[in-house]
C-alpha cells in the first residue's frame, strides 16, 4: 500500500515534469527561433509573398498573442496532438514514431553494453593491485574526456576503413549497429565504471563483507553476491545520467554514422526551425525520463528493502 502511494506520488510529479518541459521548450523556441512562418513555407533563400506568410500565420495560429498560442498548444497536447511538422507536413507523433524503432534499438544495445562493461571492469578491478586500478581508471578517464564524434571517428577508421569488419554507415542489420553502439556506450560505461568501483571499494571495506569472508565464501562470490548489489544502488541512481548520455549521444552518433533515428530527426528539426517537431522530441525525451525514473523507483524498492520498510 505504501509502495503504491509512493509510486502514485512520483507519477504525479512526473506529469509536473512533463508540463514544465513543454512550457520551457515552448518559451525557449519563441524567444530564439525567428520567423516560424518563413521556416514553414520554405527553407532558406525562399522569398514568399506577404499574403502567403499571413495565411500560414493564420493557419498555425502564429498571429495570436503568445499566451493564446501557449494555451492552445497545451490543450492540443492533452488530446495527444503534438501538432504537425512544418517541414514534413505529417503529424509530429508519426514523424517521431517512424524513427523511434532505430533509436530505441541503438539506445538499448548501448545501455546494455555500457552496464555490462561497467559492472565487469568495476568488479574485476576494485580493490586490486595499484597498477591494475590505475590502468583501468586511466582508460576510463580517456574515454570520458573524448568527444563522442572523435571516439566514433577513431572506431570508424580502425574497424571500418582499415579492418573492414563493420560497415561505415547505414541501418542494415546487426553489423551496422556495432560501431554506433560502442561509440555511444563507451563514454557512459567509463563514467559508470568509475562510480561503481569507488562504491564497490567502499562496500568491500564494510564489516559484513568480512563476515561473509569469515564464512568461507570465495572472493568472486563475495563481490558478486554481497558487494555488487550494494554498489548497484548507485548505478540505478545514475540512470538519469545514462539516459541523458544516450539521448545526447544518439544525435551525434546517428549523424556520424548516417543512421535514421530520433537523433537525426531532432537535428534536422532544430536546424530548420521546425518548432512542432522540436517540441515533440523534447516532450518525448522528457517522457522517457519520467518513465525511467518511475521504473528506477520501483527497482530501488526491489534492490534495497530499507527504501520501502524503513
Amino acid at each position: 500500500m505504501r509502495q503504491l502511494k509512493r509510486i502514485a506520488t512520483r507519477f504525479a510529479a512526473g506529469l509536473g515534469v512533463l508540463w514544465g518541459a513543454a512550457t520551457l521548450s515552448f518559451v525557449a523556441l519563441h524567444v530564439t527561433a525567428g520567423d516560424a512562418a518563413l521556416a514553414t513555407v520554405a527553407g532558406d533563400g525562399a522569398n514568399p509573398t506577404q499574403a502567403v506568410l499571413d495565411r500560414v500565420r493564420a493557419d498555425y495560429g502564429l498571429d495570436q498573442p503568445l499566451w493564446q498560442q501557449y494555451l492552445g498548444y497545451l490543450g492540443r497536447l492533452l488530446q495527444g496532438d503534438l501538432g504537425e511538422s512544418y517541414q514534413q507536413r505529417v503529424p509530429v507523433a508519426s514523424a517521431i514514431g517512424e524513427q523511434l524503432g532505430e533509436t530505441v534499438q541503438l539506445a538499448l544495445s548501448a545501455a546494455l553494453v555500457a552496464v555490462v562493461l561497467a559492472v565487469g571492469t568495476a568488479v574485476l578491478t576494485a580493490r586490486r593491485r595499484p597498477w591494475i586500478r590505475s590502468a583501468a581508471s586511466g582508460t576510463e578517464l580517456v574515454l570520458t574526456s573524448f568527444p563522442t564524434f572523435v571516439l566514433g571517428l577513431v572506431l570508424l577508421i580502425v574497424f571500418s576503413f582499415q579492418a573492414g569488419w563493420f560497415p561505415v554507415s547505414g541501418n542494415d542489420g546487426v553489423s551496422a549497429l556495432v560501431l554506433p553502439t560502442f561509440t555511444l556506450a563507451l563514454p557512459i560505461a567509463a563514467t559508470l565504471s568509475q562510480v561503481l568501483r569507488t562504491e564497490l571499494e567502499e562496500v568491500l571495506e564494510q564489516p559484513f563483507i568480512l563476515t561473509a569472508r569469515s564464512r568461507g565464501m570465495r572472493d568472486a562470490a563475495v563481490r558478486l553476491r554481497h558487494a555488487l548489489r550494494h554498489a548497484l544502488i548507485q548505478i540505478v541512481t545514475m540512470s538519469g545520467f545514462v539516459i541523458g548520455g544516450l539521448l545526447g549521444g544518439a544525435v551525434i552518433t546517428e549523424t556520424l554514422f548516417v543512421r535514421r533515428g530520433v537523433g537525426q530527426l531532432m537535428l534536422t528539426a532544430t536546424t530548420t526551425k521546425d518548432i512542432p517537431l522540436v517540441l515533440g522530441v523534447v516532450l518525448f525525451a522528457a517522457a522517457v525520463y519520467v518513465v525511467v525514473n518511475l521504473v528506477v523507483d520501483i527497482v530501488y524498492g526491489l534492490i534495497d528493502p530499507r527504501v520501502v520498510t524503513a
Binding site: P207, L210, G216
Partner: protein, 566 residues
C-alpha cells in the same frame, strides 16, 4: 618448529607419551608477528598463546593494541597487504601458516565461526537474516535448500530468537540490536565450528541486552568448542573468559587465569587498566593515576536556592516516518544547581539527548518549560537568550564530527572566544590559557582535528566549552567513544575543572559505572520518562524502581568489584 621445551623435571625425557597429550590445544600460536605494507612496523609483535578445547581465552586491550588483527589472523583474514610470520601457527594440530586461500576457505565458517561487533553493519543489509545464516550451510554442507531453511529456524531458536520463522524473513534493520546480534551468532555457529571467535561481541549494545548476549555466549562455551573473545571491556571478559591475555602495542603484557589477572595483576599496564574502570569504590578518587588519589569528599553539599537550569514537565514529540507522533520526552522535571553534577542515565532511545537539547533551547518543548537562572527560556528576548546561552555549553560524544575538519585548534577556540567579545589580539593568549586548563599546550594550536588523538580532541572540545566561562556544561556521552584509560583521564579532568571553576555538569551516559563515578544526583530515564531520581548513593544501593534494579543487575561487574561469576 612447534616442539616447545619440555617441562622442567623431565630431564632428558625423550618423547611425551601420546596418552598425555589428549588435551592438545585447539589453537597454538607462538611468536606471531604481523605487519602491514613493505616496511610497516609489527602491529602484532611476538604474540604467543594457546586455546584448549572447551576453553575461552580473552584478548583484552585498548584500540590499536593488535587484538583484532591477532584474532583475524586465526582465520587468514588479517587484511590487505598484511605480512604474517610465526614460529607456530596451528589450528587443531595442523600447521596453517602456509595455508592457501583454498585451505582457509575450508576452515572459515566450517571450523571457525566469527562474530563481529555491531550486527547492523556485520550483516548484509540487503538480504533477509535467514539467508545470511544459511550461507555457511550452503558453503560447507550438502544440505538441500529446504533442509537449510529448517536448520536456520532451528539455529535461531537455539540462540533465543522468538518467532524464528518470521525473523528469518526479516532484514537486519527490522530487528532490534539484541536480535541482530543473536542472528549473527547463529550464522557463526551454523556449522558447529570447533572455535568461535567473538570480536567485541557486545560493544554496541545496551547494558541489559549486553547481559543477555553474554549469557548466550556463555552457553555456547559449555560444549567442547574453544572460544576467543576480543574486547576492550574488562567486565565482559570477567564474565566469559577462563583465561585472559592483556595486549598492549602488539605484545601480550600479561596472561593468566581470569581471576588472577583481574584480582591480582602483575603488570603495571594491567594495573592501570583496572584502576581506570570507574568501579564503585573509586568514587571521589582519580582514575588515571595509581594509587588512586582522592579528589574530593563525597557526598558534597550545594546551595540549592537558585538552580542554573530547571525543567518543568517537559514534553517533546516527533513525527515518525509513518507520520505518527512519538512522544520521546514526557513530563520530565529536574533542576541543576551551581557546582553539582546531575547524571542522566538510560538506554538508547530513552530520551536523554532530547532532554539535553530542550535544556539548551536547541529544541522547543511541546509542553512544560525550561528556566535559566529563574527566568523562562520562552520569556527571554533574543538578545537575552544569546547571553544566557553562553552560560550553557555542550560537549558531545564524538568531537571529530563536531569540529570543522579544516579548522585548526586555534581557529576552533578563536571562534568560541570571539563570541565573548574579546579583541582579536588577545584571543591567542586566551586560547593558550584554555588549552592549559585542559592540560594541552600552545603547541596544539596549529593542529587540525585529524592530527589529534581521541582524548586530545575531547580536551579541545572541553576547552571550547570553557571559553565563554559557562556555569553549566552539558556532557552528552563525552567518554563513550574513548578507551578506558583515556576515559579515566577525561573524567579526572572534568572533576578537576569542577573543583577549580565550580562548573555544574548535566552528564548524560548509558554507562552506569561512569554515571556513578561523576554524579551527585541521578535521573534514570526509560522511554522518555524519569522513572527514578535522587542521590546517587541511594539510587545505586537501594533502587526503588523495578527498571533501575534491572539496569543495575545487568551491569557487568569486573572482578575488582567482587569477582567473576562462576
Amino acid at each position: 618448529m612447534s616442539a616447545r621445551s619440555t617441562a622442567p623435571g623431565h630431564i632428558g625425557a625423550s618423547a611425551v607419551p601420546a596418552a598425555e597429550t589428549t588435551a592438545a590445544p585447539l589453537v597454538n600460536v607462538d611468536d606471531l608477528r604481523v605487519s602491514f605494507g613493505r616496511h610497516g612496523v609489527d602491529v602484532v609483535d611476538g604474540v604467543s598463546f594457546t586455546i584448549a578445547p572447551g576453553e575461552c581465552l580473552a584478548l583484552v586491550g585498548e584500540s590499536g593494541s593488535g587484538k583484532s588483527v591477532t584474532a583475524r589472523t586465526l582465520v587468514g583474514l588479517t587484511g590487505y597487504g598484511a605480512r604474517v610470520r610465526a614460529a607456530t601457527l596451528e589450528f587443531d594440530g595442523r600447521d596453517v601458516s602456509r595455508n592457501t586461500e583454498r585451505h582457509w576457505r575450508g576452515i572459515r565458517g566450517a571450523q571457525v565461526g566469527f562474530v563481529l561487533q555491531d550486527a547492523l553493519s556485520s550483516l548484509d543489509a540487503l538480504r533477509p537474516v535467514g539467508r545470511e545464516i544459511a550461507e555457511p550451510l550452503a558453503l560447507h554442507t550438502t544440505l538441500a535448500k529446504a533442509a537449510r531453511g529448517e536448520k536456520v529456524i532451528e539455529l535461531l531458536r537455539a540462540v533465543g530468537v522468538p518467532e524464528p520463522e518470521l525473523r528469518a524473513q526479516q532484514y537486519p534493520h527490522q530487528l532490534s540490536g539484541g536480535l541482530r546480534q543473536r542472528a549473527l551468532i547463529a550464522s557463526a555457529i551454523a556449522c558447529e565450528p570447533r572455535l568461535v571467535i567473538a570480536d567485541e561481541p557486545t560493544t554496541a549494545l545496551d547494558a541489559t541486552v549486553q547481559a543477555q548476549i553474554l549469557e548466550l555466549l556463555g552457553e555456547l562455551k559449555r560444549g567442547d568448542a574453544g572460544m576467543l573473545v576480543v574486547s576492550h571491556d574488562l567486565s565482559v571478559v570477567a564474565r566469559l573468559a577462563d583465561r585472559v591475555a592483556v595486549m598492549r602495542a602488539g605484545r601480550i603484557v600479561e596472561q593468566g587465569p581470569t581471576r588472577q589477572v583481574l584480582e591480582d595483576p602483575r603488570d603495571r599496564y594491567t594495573k592501570a587498566l583496572l584502576a581506570a574502570v570507574p568501579a564503585t569504590h573509586a568514587k571521589g578518587t582519580r582514575l588515571s593515576s595509581a594509587p588512586a588519589a582522592v579528589i574530593r569528599a563525597t557526598p558534597r553539599e550545594f546551595d540549592r536556592t537558585t538552580p542554573i537550569v530547571a525543567a518543568e514537565g517537559l514534553v517533546k514529540a516527533y513525527a515518525g516516518p509513518d507520520k505518527v507522533n512519538r512522544t520521546v520526552v514526557r513530563e520530565v522535571s529536574f533542576a541543576v544547581h551551581p557546582g553539582e553534577t546531575l547524571g542522566i542515565v538510560g538506554e538508547s532511545g530513552s530520551g536523554k539527548t532530547t532532554t539535553a537539547r530542550l535544556i539548551l533551547g536547541l529544541e522547543r518543548a511541546d509542553g512544560g518549560h525550561v528556566s535559566v537562572r529563574g527566568r523562562r527560556w520562552d520569556s527571554l528576548t533574543p538578545a537575552d537568550k544569546r547571553a544566557e546561552r553562553r552560560r550553557l555549553q555542550i560537549v558531545y560524544q564524538d568531537p571529530l564530527s563536531s569540529f570543522d575538519p579544516r579548522y585548526t585548534v586555534e581557529r576552533v577556540l578563536g571562534e568560541a572566544i570571539g563570541v565573548t567579545g574579546l579583541r582579536a589580539g588577545q584571543r591567542r593568549d586566551r586560547a593558550v590559557e584554555l588549552l592549559e586548563q585542559v592540560s594541552l599546550g600552545a603547541e596544539h594550536l596549529k593542529r587540525r582535528p585529524l592530527e589529534l588523538s581521541g582524548g586530545q580532541r575531547q580536551r579541545v572540545a572541553i576547552a571550547r566549552a570553557l571559553a565563554p566561562e559557562p556555569e553549566l556544561i552539558v556532557c552528552d556521552e563525552p567518554v563513550s567513544a574513548l578507551d578506558v584509560s583515556v576515559q579515566a583521564q577525561i573524567l579526572d579532568l572534568l572533576a578537576d575543572l569542577q573543583e577549580r571553576l565550580g562548573i555544574a555538569y548535566l552528564f548524560i551516559s548509558h554507562d552506569l559505572g561512569v554515571i556513578h563515578h561523576v554524579s551527585d544526583r541521578v535521573l534514570v530515564m526509560k522511554d522518555g520518562e524519569v522513572v527514578e531520581s535522587g542521590d546517587v548513593r541511594q539510587i545505586f544501593t537501594a533502587p526503588a524502581h523495578e527498571y533501575t534494579r534491572t539496569l543495575l543487575s545487568a551491569v557487568l561487574t569486573p572482578a575488582t568489584q567482587g569477582g567473576p561469576r562462576a
